[in-house]
């Protein structure tokens, strides 16, 4: 039976208290939203969610990767291929991007299930990730949050079977973003809710109930997309959902994560799911769809994941709205942005094993692991005698460090380290870490991030982050 074998999520640690947007001081435990920091975007969040999903599994079993986002940085050039490389998946992995609609995540999920059911792939990794921007000071800015969720769809050891889904497609100009635009637009809110979101969501759910001969009360858990808290509440009332059924929509904690929003709620639902429970996922965007799952006994065997709850506990609240603006390069500056042509594409090409997959090499002659790849061994001088060696899934440690206050960043200093992993030395930035926490010998793991932008293109590379202690897992 086709379904979800495994899941993972990612929510950036940085949070923007909503009070700061309104120019008020932030209160402890006040509403906030998750914010992709300046070295994060839909790609890096997708890689993190993907890693969390695949943790403990054999990556070579993944036959296909579907990536869903409305905020992938390129108009032409595939995101799934980049993410597959960062996840170090097989060479013959099938990749596809799903975009254009806020429903892209669940559409990808459905397509993956269809592929597995049809037998054209045994295992498909689906990752939804979004990092949308509302104009500074707008209500959309306060509503939106950033995050990602990943699911491995297969017919083996599934923790939830995908039972059925029902969708309606709709042509409506309610929420959109034009070519080359940074900010999402929306038509008048009552129109959007009354003619779009509410009726279509209800229609999709009723369609599914009819098709499956179920009642809404048959579902123990309902994950419902909502553009904002109030609109979401309207559909909850229309469907007569009771409080116990409703998956926490995380308004005031995460915010509306676009394509990833319903998938993140699904991941959160799976974290606490019990065998036999039925889940309903309702998503909206250019129409709506409802998908039904049944939780299996395998859910009890799945080792604990870095899911939504795990990430929500790890917070770094911003102290000022200005830092957020800086991280999104929305602040006014006297400096012209450098007219640089970016890195040569040939460098990206030559270095993709190191930079994107974080693969080093192990000398066959002296067994020294080294990074980056080179022709002659750093230690024994043997030439061209290496095996490729994946470093991204290893735990390293800080050998030495400094705090660079000079390097431009929205919130200096940049923590710069030399870290060691299996004997290889890597010049590595630390993120989600404070100078106070930085110590010689600190255990670190790797996280895929933006390192720089050049020529209007993001450059991606790995950074280090303190590896959580076993208790925190």
């Amino acid at each position: 039976m086709t379904g979800i074998q495994c899941y993972g999520a990612y929510v950036p640690r940085t949070r923007l208290p909503l009070a700061l947007i309104a120019g008020r001081p932030a209160k402890e435990d006040g509403p906030e939203k998750s914010v992709a920091w300046n070295d994060e975007d839909s790609v890096t969040m997708a890689v993190s969610a993907g890693l969390n999903c695949l943790r403990g599994l054999d990556r070579s079993q993944v036959d296909a990767l579907f990536f869903a986002s409305t905020t992938y940085p390129f108009r032409e050039k595939q995101g799934a291929a980049l993410i597959a490389k960062a996840l170090d998946l097989r060479r013959d992995v099938r990749t596809a991007d799903h975009s254009g609609s806020l429903r892209a995540g669940t559409i990808a999920l459905r397509s993956a299930a269809d592929a597995v059911t049809a037998g054209s792939a045994r295992s498909v990794l689906v990752i939804a990730s979004d990092c949308r921007m509302g104009a500074p000071g707008s209500s959309l800015e306060a509503d939106f949050g950033d995050g990602a969720a990943a699911f491995l769809i297969s017919d083996r050891d599934v923790i939830a079977t995908l039972d059925d889904s029902f969708s309606v497609s709709d042509e409506i100009v309610d929420v959109w973003r034009g070519e080359g635009e940074a900010f999402v637009h929306t038509w008048e809110n009552r129109f959007v809710v009354q003619e779009g979101y509410t009726p279509r969501s209800v229609e999709a759910v009723n369609g599914l109930l009819e098709r499956t001969g179920s009642a809404i009360s048959d579902f123990q858990r309902v994950a419902l997309y909502g553009p904002d808290r109030r609109s979401h509440g309207g559909v909850v009332r229309a469907l007569k959902l009771n409080r116990e059924q409703l998956q926490d929509p995380l308004f005031g904690k995460l915010g509306n994560a676009g394509v990833a929003f319903a998938p993140i709620q699904l991941a959160a639902a799976l974290e606490t799911a019990q065998p036999g429970e039925r889940l309903l996922v309702v998503n909206y965007g250019d129409g709506a769809e409802a998908t039904a799952f049944t939780v299996t006994e395998h859910v009890e065997k799945l080792e604990r994941r870095r899911g939504v709850g795990w990430h929500l506990k790890r917070r770094r609240p911003l102290s000022s709205y200005d830092k957020y603006l800086k991280s999104r390069t929305l602040e006014a500056s006297e400096w012209q942005r450098a007219k640089d042509p970016g890195l040569p594409a040939t460098i990206h090409f030559r270095e993709r094993d190191e930079d994107v997959s974080l693969r080093g090499q192990k000398c066959r002659a002296c067994q020294t692991v080294q990074f980056p790849n080179q022709r002659v061994c750093e230690t024994c001088f043997a030439k061209d005698d290496f095996d490729s060696y994946r470093l991204s899934d290893r735990i390293g440690k800080v050998v030495t460090f400094t705090f660079d206050f000079f390097f431009p960043t929205p919130d200096p200093p940049t923590i710069v380290t030399i870290s060691e992993v299996d004997g290889a030395r890597i010049h590595l930035q630390l993120v989600d870490c404070t100078p106070e926490d930085t110590k010689i010998g600190l255990p670190i793991e790797f996280t895929f991030r933006r390192i720089h932008e050049g020529g209007g293109r993001p450059n991606y590379y790995w950074k280090g982050t303190p590896t959580p202690s076993q208790d925190a897992e």
Partner: protein, 385 residues
């Protein structure tokens, strides 16, 4: 290695330098002319077009190199070579000139280093961007990477670094061509804005424009130019592994300095550097660079340098004065010029012409540059006959 060596074969018979600083009103050509004509005058050269056989010049930021120099000095119909070796460029320029004379290729050579970073419109060093993973790196963050391990192992602190800054600032007030001429206190250094921990503003050298030149000639011809020529006892430039990638690096020292010291001491016949060297110009791009270099050059044991700093060993009146003109700290670091500027200071010291900063009766002087990540070290040892 087959080595006849270059010891005592080549003499420096004239030195010159422009004023170092934010030379807003000077072009590279202006500075080149100031430095070269200073050296001509010092060597009594009145007709350089006749008397100079070849030129070795060094610059990090210029992409015009030989053309810029020949055009500025109107040295046409001459062999001109541009040398590029990061911060070791100046010393390497001397090495190339010395080798050409020792090989019998030329009799008299102009060695010149210059750089003009203040034409770039940015304060401080550029952020490198050669490849995806090369970022972010600033020189301060490359060099500060030894601090955490060194502090941890030897109990050194920011105060130990501050003492070096205070010393060099003091020496700089006594050098007419220096850029920064202000005494500072340890408190000034400790309270300054942080650049890359543990380096505050005063732990970093300034970025300046500058040019320096030397006239070198066959030792047996030296008296034609100078009453008191200075002999080249040894000169080397040695490459080491990138310390950031080197799996065996302990971040307590920089390998190229140790290797270069061994090589150049052998050339110059130095067996006890602390005893035999009377004055030294060390690469103090950052205070920690000077501290570690005391040890890497064999002036003392690993971990001991901070005690000697505290005891005043490296001050003008100390046992082994270091950076008598204030070093990179007060001259700034126009990269190509720095190594040659150090030769300028060492020649003045050996000839007893260093005025208010003159050390007592020096016979042997050492200059040292380390650059890259750091990955290359150049050392030159000069001495009186």
């Amino acid at each position: 290695m087959a080595r006849e060596g270059i010891r005592d074969k080549v003499a420096i018979v004239g030195v010159g330098a422009c004023k170092f600083g934010e030379n807003w009103d000077q072009s590279p050509s202006d500075m080149i002319v100031d430095a070269a004509y200073g050296a001509y005058a010092d060597a009594g050269i009145e007709n350089p077009q006749e008397q100079i056989d070849a030129v070795f010049s060094g610059s990090l930021y210029s992409n015009k190199g030989p053309h810029e120099l020949s055009d500025a000095l109107k040295l046409f119909n001459k062999p001109i070579t541009e040398v590029y070796n990061y911060c070791a460029t100046g010393t390497d320029t001397l090495r190339c000139g010395v080798m050409s004379i020792a090989a019998g290729m030329y009799d008299t050579v102009l060695v010149l280093g210059y750089d003009k970073p203040k034409d770039r419109g940015v304060s401080g060093p550029s952020v490198m961007m050669d490849g995806v993973r090369d970022l972010p790196k600033t020189p301060a963050s490359w060099f500060s990477l030894c601090a955490a391990t060194y502090f941890d192992k030897f109990g050194a602190s920011r105060e130990d670094l501050a003492r070096i800054a205070v010393k060099n600032h003091h020496n700089g007030t006594l050098a007419p061509l220096s850029f920064l001429k202000r005494e500072i206190t340890i408190e000034d250094a400790l309270n300054a804005r942080m650049v890359s921990w543990p380096f505050g503003l005063y732990d970093c050298c300034a970025q300046t424009d500058g040019a320096a030149a030397a006239i070198i000639t066959r030792a047996d011809l030296a008296k034609n130019y100078s009453e008191k020529p200075v002999l080249v006892k040894g000169v080397t430039v040695i490459a080491g592994p990138n310390p950031q990638k080197d799996p065996s690096n302990d971040f307590l020292s920089w390998k190229p300095t140790g290797w270069a010291a061994k090589d150049v001491y052998e050339q110059a016949g130095i067996t006890n550097p602390r005893e035999q060297i009377d004055v030294a110009q060390l690469h103090d791009c950052f205070t920690l660079t000077e501290l570690l270099s005391y040890e890497d050059l064999g002036f003392c044991e690993k971990g001991e340098a901070r005690h000697l700093v505290k005891d005043g060993v490296f001050e003008l009146t100390g046992e082994l004065p270091v950076n008598t003109d204030g070093g990179l700290k007060t001259f700034g670091h126009p990269t190509g010029a720095t190594g040659v500027r150090m030769l300028y200071e060492n020649v003045l010291q050996l000839q007893g012409r260093a005025e208010g900063r003159q050390v007592k009766n020096p016979q042997i002087a050492l200059s040292h540059n380390i650059g890259g990540h750091p990955t290359a070290c150049g050392i030159a040892i000069l001495g009186l006959p």
